[in-house]
Amino acid sequence: MIELENVSKSFTLHNQGSAVIPVMERVNLAVSPGECVGLVGASGAGKSTLMRLIYGNYLAAEGRVMVGDLDVAQAAPRQIIALRRETLGYVSQFLRVVPRVAALDVVAEPLLAVGTPLEAARDKAASLLAELNIPERLWSLSPTTFSGGEQQRVNIARGFAYDYPALLLDEPTASLDAKNRATVLSLVESAKARGAAIIGIFHDEAARDQVCDRFIDVSAFTPQVSA
């Protein structure tokens, strides 16, 4: 479902003497439907960079980034937009929303984008928010006013509202208490059970071992710096 072949990535800083900073080299990996692969490696090794390459907010310098039938490294913007709407979900570490939109509608939005009727989308959003222990009195408020942990759970609910065939999870269990962590892990388990291909970053080792089928150490892709 997700397959990277010989992907490399570097940043060129034009305003700092055109310094070229290579960050990833020769990335090869494949994730099948129903499989959850954990990315490991020290902080700064490039776990999040790899996810952004797959999601398309970083442009790969070389190689192929296949998600389903689409090569994200070569695709036109509208193809990536369609991919993100219908195929590839991403739970980032930060919630980014239009101010003033109610939490319930933030979570329902991915469903509305694929044409789910408003009532059904809101029902699904409500059940996810309830499952993640967001008190009902907060549902009509904008998540911009929520605590960090609450925002993160809204972000997770949004990421799991629609059944994406492929999912990227960037630290979905960070800063959650045991009960909410268990809920998130069961969401991951059921996504696997319905056949989603998942790539995740989990700092928490117990969580990691519970849901991941195997691990990829991204330090293997870090370019060897001679200095």
Partner: protein
């Protein structure tokens, strides 16, 4: 409300711009701009003041005659047509039906001496609406959608706040169900709280009506929230374009890198 379009099967671009160039004497307004816009897409154009982004918008919308290039619009009746080659009445009709233009200053897009309801109704009448009761009912409906109380329907826009005037301008433009909306700094000059409200409104309307839009702004936060795609202009040229978050998170061109790194973090 109609369901949003899913899996866009029709792959004809709604708008094709080819080699559009506008000079002011020897100075470049915008040069050799080309892109395709598909149904339902929202494209942002960013760049500093004087980069040519408003010139480009006005040239596309037919407000200024460009020196070279084509602006091909997929018309309902006759399919793709070069709007620059249309007769003046044809282009005016397009401007009243399938196209809309939201000005930065609401005063430029409203008739200040006509009531709020009249401002909305006027556009309906321009496309053949004649039944007073229906026009007034639609005007009231649109005031509600842009969150203006219908008790204000007979007030003139000069009695409205800046944010309300901008929302009225949007209602006036969208009442005829256009397929393409040009916006020039739609949130410029408004308080941040009013901006947020307007952004939310625009996003909902884009999704519900399946609109395509081209938004000129200097505000990167606005494009991140509203635009699927982004075009960065400098000195009349397009220096970079692509998926909005790719251009903002991984800018390739020197100027875009400078632009992105110049934003104050809040």
């Amino acid at each position: 409300m109609m369901a949003p379009q899913v899996g866009e099967q029709d792959m004809t671009p709604l708008l094709q711009v080819n080699g559009l160039t506008k000079m002011y004497g020897a100075r470049i307004g915008c040069r050799d701009v080309s892109f395709d816009l598909y149904p339902g897409e929202v494209m942002g154009i960013v760049g500093e003041s004087g980069s040519g982004k408003s010139t480009l918008l006005n040239a596309m919308a037919g407000h200024h005659a460009p020196d070279r290039g084509e602006v091909i619009f997929d018309t309902r009746a006759d399919g793709p047509q070069d709007t620059l080659k249309m007769s003046e009445p044809e282009r005016r009709m397009l401007g009243r039906t399938d196209w809309a233009f939201v000005h930065q200053h609401a005063r430029d897009g409203l008739r200040m001496s006509v009531s709020a309801g009249g401002n909305i109704g006027e556009r309906l009448m321009a496309v053949g609406g004649r039944h007073y009761g229906e026009i007034r009912a639609q005007a009231a409906d649109w005031l509600g959608r842009v969150e203006i109380s219908d008790s204000r329907i007979d007030d003139r826009p000069s009695a409205f706040s800046g944010g309300m005037q901008q929302r009225l301008q949007i209602a006036r433009n969208l009442v005829t169900g256009p397929r393409l909306v040009f916006m020039d700094e739609p949130t410029g000059g408004l308080d941040v709280s009013v901006q947020a409200r307007l952004l939310d409104l625009l996003r909902g309307l884009v999704r519900e009506m399946g609109l395509s839009a081209i938004i000129v702004t200097h505000d990167l936060a606005v494009v991140r929230l509203l635009a699927d795609r982004l075009m960065v202009m400098k000195d009349g040229h397009v220096v970079e374009s692509g998926l909005t978050d790719q251009v903002l998170d991984d800018p390739q061109h020197a100027y875009t890198q400078l632009l992105v790194s110049s934003v104050l973090q809040v």
